[in-house]
Symmetry: C2
Subunit: 137 residues, 2 copies
DNA sequence: GCTGCCGTTGACGTTAACGTAAACTTGGCG
DNA sequence: CGCCAAGTTTACGTTAACGTCAACGGCAGC
């Protein structure tokens, strides 16, 4: 059994930056805001697989329009401070609240999708009409 | 048939502000950015039902994380400049693009919902364990 | 030893989406 | 008439989420 197993991969800041198409500045910024706490090798930051997952959560949050603060909360939902779990009920409440928000968002999304469909149909119709006019003249 | 029919209702700026729980400043700001073009009675702005619909679109866009610029585009999808319809194809492309974005967003939403469910379940479990410990001692 | 290249911190700049404040007009009413 | 409430414009302030230098350290290769 060799010591160089597959477990506990690590990443450099530029590796992560490239993988997720963001800048190193951005990653450091997230750390500054307390969303990431990578290990260090002297000066240099070393990111674990868990850090990478957190980044994924942050970026997904961004796509959903969450603020960094909100993403921070979400991350803590996944990694509740082991000793800090006396706030479990608070956490559950937060989750429920967030889920409510996501639900309205989902409704908004569906509505907008439907309306976009209709808008496209109208545009397509208009285009057809124009073609007919030009070919029949 | 009286002249005071139900058609073409109008709204004052503060009426709309109250209805949608935003400030008048915000509404004027949207106008400044070209999202609204209310009629005027001298100085005073007068909003039509169409203006109100546009506001609804803007606010829904906001909930979905759209920028005002994007909401502006969306609004134009609903009210394509009649004479300006030579850009219909461009418009359709925009709609398709926007729908793609909404699709990823929908996936993100579903994923996050699912994961929140799991997180809540884990928290609930943890709570149960704690109760058992305290009652069995 | 010099040159890149990657990494670091720190400071300042930028954009979007409003908030806030000042200074003014205008219609209604007691 | 005096005054208030609601409206207006203009201008500056604010927050979040980075971008953009600047100045520096370490090390790999020539």
């Amino acid at each position: 059994m060799s010591a160089t197993s597959t477990k506990s991969r690590t990443y450099s800041i530029s590796q992560l930056a490239e993988e997720f198409a963001i800048t190193t500045r951005t990653i450091r910024f997230y750390e500054e805001k307390g969303l990431l706490q990578p290990k260090r090798n002297g000066q240099t930051r070393i990111y674990s697989a868990a850090d990478r997952v957190k980044l994924i959560l942050i970026l997904r949050g961004k796509r959903l329009g969450l603020s960094l603060e909100e993403s921070k909360d979400i991350i803590e939902m996944y990694h509740p401070d082991q000793d800090n779990s006396h706030q479990l009920q608070t956490l559950i409440d937060k989750i429920r609240e967030k889920r409510e928000q996501l639900k309205t968002q989902l409704d908004d999304l569906r509505t907008m999708m439907r309306e976009l469909d209709e808008a496209e149909a109208r545009c397509a119709d208009a285009l057809t009409v124009m073609k007919n006019v030009t070919t029949s003249s």
